[in-house]
């Protein structure tokens, strides 16, 4: 039995067990490896994808709970105007060290700017608290977000 998920603007027929967390469907069935497994506990944000425009964890919730929702992964983020702007700002700000958190960060910043396009740094910080970075690239991520806002 299969079910359908809308990912990066396209409907995919999914054959994984519907209880499989979305992340494993993305990575293993669809070979979209950009979303990362960091904890599997919804604590670190490495697995974030946009769901109806908002960043959500994909590592725990069963894939079937995403049926009928608009999912955008890091591979599809350049299809969104804000996403392209955020990607470019991350590159220009060198906003990564090891980069394991980066896909989730790009998703998170895109989600935040989609909802609130004109935040300042003080307002941005708590919006990104679901996303861990162990290298200390936070100031660069914040700078990238500010650049993306300035360029709107």
């Amino acid at each position: 039995m299969t079910f359908t998920l809308c990912i990066n603007g396209k409907d995919w027929s999914i054959s994984s067990d519907p209880e499989t967390p979305l992340l494993f469907v993305l990575r293993d069935e669809l070979e979209l490896k950009g979303s990362k497994l960091g904890c599997g506990l919804e604590q670190c944000g490495a697995c974030a994808v946009l769901v109806d425009g908002k960043a959500e964890f994909s590592c725990s919730a069963p894939a079937e709970t995403f049926i009928g929702r608009d999912i955008v992964t890091i591979e599809g983020i350049s299809g969104l105007e804000i996403g392209r702007r955020v990607q470019a700002a991350f590159v220009d700000a060198n906003a990564a060290q090891c980069g394991y958190c980066t896909a989730g960060m790009v998703i998170a910043v895109t989600g935040v700017l989609t909802e609130s396009p004109h935040l300042d740094r003080r307002e941005l910080k708590p919006m990104l608290d679901n996303h861990l970075c162990r290298c200390g690239a936070h100031p660069r991520v914040l700078r990238a977000a500010e650049m993306a806002i300035e360029r709107s």
């Binding site: 994984s16 067990d17 499989t20 967390p21 494993f24 990575r27 293993d28 070979e31 979209l32 490896k33 950009g34 979303s35 990362k36 497994l37 960091g38 904890c39 599997g40 506990l41 604590q43 670190c44 490495a46 992964t73 890091i74 591979e75 983020i77 350049s78 955020v86 990607q87 991350f90 590159v91 060198n94 990564a96 060290q97 090891c98 980069g99 394991y100 958190c101 980066t102 896909a103 790009v106 941005l124 910080k125 708590p126 919006m127 990104l128 608290d129 996303h131 861990l132 970075c133 162990r134 290298c135 200390g136 690239a137 936070h138 100031p139 660069r140 991520v141 914040l142």
Partner: protein, 703 residues
């Protein structure tokens, strides 16, 4: 370890497909070493960045540069590659002159194109470099390209990272590959008894492969999520003998000199076989500073890929030392090292020796049990938190004799703690294999290996134990505790983090007691002009006082290993009524010699500072008799965005001085500046990390 003077240009550089291939033994663990090495080649040869390829690091073809650790990569690999590139430039220019005429001095290279007498067409540097033999010794005195104004480089891989196409080790995918996981014991001393045979048989009938070697137990299958589910089922079917459990009790009470292997440390180097000399002066000041077990806490759990075809054991790993790991895996399996091939592939930043090497060996064990089947083995978050080798709990005891004028006449520093030397380094008595976690659990167990003191200059516990200041009398000792309740190994900075925290806090205590300005007090003991320049610049930056009466400001200074990057730090913070520290601002001034990549250097210093903020405020590994209880990001909290301060980093460029690494230069002084700022804000001296609200409240109650 490769000595640059004995290497050839082709060991580091070669021309292939119209690109210059740069070979390094140093791996990119997020510290941007590949960006920096490409920048060095670009600076020497003027090639455009797309013509420079930093080759993947593997045991078959990369120079053996030992470990990627200790902030050494710029000084070692970077220096070697700069010399190799400069040698190549001289060779190519000489060859062009021989072939096309003119004197060698009349030839030059710009944007990767040669210009010289009688040439009226573009002559690409790489065309000539590709024609000549690079089997020529690196000239250690090669003339280097003059240092231009320091610039920043685009981080290599950045465009792939933001589009999800950068490949981490976890992303390997190939036909027939199985995903594997290890079924972990509750703690390091538990051993596997019976496994419920019904569960075992059912899992096998469902197509899972089960691998057991003594108490090492792994499971493999074609898809990751079903394997993770199967681990839970198999785990519940296992009967673990608890043995005595993990030792509990006050770890800091157990860190005493009388239970340790003690030895003097003279000029940064431990002296074997000599007792620690008795102190012949009476101290006026004493203080002890402490740090708990601390996790590397990589954001991506450890992973490895392995495959065994009956002849060669192929391993892909994110280890920081592929050569030592290859030798220890080969020795564990009684194989010839040349039959084991290791390739590096990135995982998340590791900040020292985490589970990378252990995962590689575990993947190898599963691959050997399932020949001709590629295996991708991953640790879970709980595995990583619970089984990585932590930075050891440690303490530093300081004493000083201070005159009434506030002058320090004599100082002693005794570092006490567990080992930072947990890497699988080859040695007598199967020392390497004994450091690999799975060997502790196999049917013929090896290890764990009792710790032995690191005798290297500025190594282990004694890194930065020697103050950088000119005190009249200084005595240092290191005191290694062999029996620790938890496995430990190298964590970013090794002993330097705690030692600098201790020295710089202790100086602050003495300076404040005598009403001295903390920067001025330090400068009085500094004769190194570059250190003075760093301190002067920080002083100039701090002309604005802290913004309100409730804010505290602390400063600290250190030179990593007393020989590398100099960093002066100022921290502004407040402490709330709930005893929560809120850091507003960090200012850093750093001298790392000639700047290779301006933005990359700032990123390393910033990253180190923020990791230190996380250590200072939150990080402590907890455990009880039944195992480690810090098993996720809630039970082991770390820094999040809301608590990230503003950071400004000022670099003092020294174009005429050798470039030195900076990845470990900022954490020590940042820790100390935080402690000093807390004292400035609320008058409480925090001598143990982390400075949690509970810890601050306790110090306030005891005051």
């Amino acid at each position: 370890m490769t000595d640059v003077a004995e290497t050839k240009v082709r060991d580091w550089l070669s021309v292939s497909n119209d690109t210059l291939q740069v070979r390094t033994g140093k791996v990119d663990i997020g510290q941007r070493i590949s960006t920096a090495l490409a920048a060095i080649v670009q600076q020497e040869l003027t090639l455009p960045p797309e013509k420079i390829v930093v080759a993947p690091v593997q045991t078959e073809s990369s120079p053996d540069e030992g470990m990627t650790s200790g902030s050494n990569s710029i000084e070692q690999s970077g220096h070697a590659i700069r010399l190799a590139a400069a040698t190549l430039r001289a060779l190519v220019l000489g060859h062009a002159a021989d072939r096309f005429g003119g004197a060698r001095q009349e030839w030059s290279v710009r944007d990767g194109v040669l210009t010289g007498p009688g040439i009226n067409r573009p002559l690409p540097f790489l065309d000539i470099a590709g024609e000549i033999s690079l089997d020529i010794a690196v000239d250690a005195k090669a003339e280097l390209a003059s240092a231009a104004k320091a610039t920043s480089y685009l981080m290599r891989g950045m465009a792939d990272l933001v589009s999800g196409s950068y490949h981490f080790i976890q992303d390997i995918e190939q036909p027939g590959m199985l995903h594997a996981r290890v079924v972990r014991p509750p703690h390091a001393r538990a051993r596997l008894g019976d496994i419920d045979d019904r569960v075992w048989q059912r899992l096998k009938s469902e197509g899972f492969h089960l691998v057991r070697d003594g108490s090492f137990l792994a499971i493999a299958g074609p898809l990751e999520w079903p394997v993770m589910r199967a681990v839970s089922r198999l785990s519940r079917a296992c009967e673990w003998r608890q043995e005595d459990g993990l030792p509990e009790g006050d770890i800091f009470a157990s860190l005493t000199k009388d239970t340790a292997i003690g030895m003097p440390v003279v000029n940064g180097t431990p002296v074997e076989g000599e007792p620690v000399p008795e102190r012949r002066w009476k101290p006026t000041h004493d203080a002890r500073y402490e740090r708990p077990f601390t996790m590397h806490g990589a954001l991506g759990p450890s992973a490895a890929w392995a495959s065994w075809d009956g002849t060669t054991l192929d391993i892909t790993t994110h280890s920081q030392g592929i050569y030592i790991l290859r030798d220890s895996i080969a020795e564990s399996l009684e194989m010839a090292p040349e039959d084991v091939v290791l390739r590096y592939m990135p995982n998340a930043g590791c900040y020292g020796h985490n589970g990378a090497d252990d995962a590689a060996f575990e993947a190898a064990l599963v691959a050997l049990a399932l020949p001709d089947t590629p295996i991708l083995l991953k640790w879970s978050r709980e595995d990583e938190h619970g089984w990585e080798p932590y930075g050891p709990a440690s303490a530093v005891e300081l004493s000083a004799q201070v005159g009434e004028d506030g002058q320090i006449k004599a100082i002693s520093l005794d570092a006490i703690g567990g080992t930072f030397r947990g890497r699988p380094r080859k040695g007598a008595g199967q020392a390497g294999p004994k450091k690999l976690l799975a060997n502790h659990f196999r049917a013929k167990p090896l290890g764990p290996d009792p710790a032995s003191p690191n005798m290297n200059w500025q190594g282990g516990l004694h890194r930065n134990l020697l103050p950088v200041y000119d005190f009249p009398q200084v005595a240092c000792s290191k005191n290694l505790i062999v029996d620790m309740p938890l496995r430990t190994s190298a964590l970013r900075c090794l002993g330097a983090a705690l030692n600098i925290f201790a020295i710089e806090s202790f100086l602050d205590e003495i300076a404040r007691e005598h009403g001295e300005d903390p920067i001025g007090y330090r400068k009085a003991y500094v004769s190194d002009a570059r250190a003075l320049a760093v301190l002067d610049r920080l002083q100039a930056e701090l002309e604005t006082p802290v913004s309100s009466g409730e804010m505290g400001r602390g400063i600290a200074y250190a030179q990593y290993k007393n020989a590398m990057t100099r960093v002066a730090v100022s921290v502004d913070l407040s402490v709330s009524d709930a005893a929560e520290i809120k850091i507003d601002n960090i200012v850093m001034v750093a001298d790392a010699g000639r700047i290779v990549d301006r933005d990359g250097l700032i990123a390393q210093l910033e990253g180190g500072a923020l990791q230190a903020v996380s250590w200072a405020l939150y990080e402590e590994v907890k455990w009880d008799r039944d195992g480690v209880t810090s098993r996720d990001w809630e039970s082991y909290p770390v820094l999040r965005f809301s608590e990230v301060p503003e950071i400004s980093t000022i670099l003092l460029d020294r174009p005429d001085c050798q470039s030195v690494g900076a990845g470990e230069a900022s954490p020590g002084p940042v820790l100390a500046a935080i402690g000093n700022a807390v004292y400035d804000a609320v008058g409480l001296r925090m001598r143990r990390l982390p400075m949690t609200p509970e810890a601050i409240t306790k110090v306030a109650m005891d005051a």
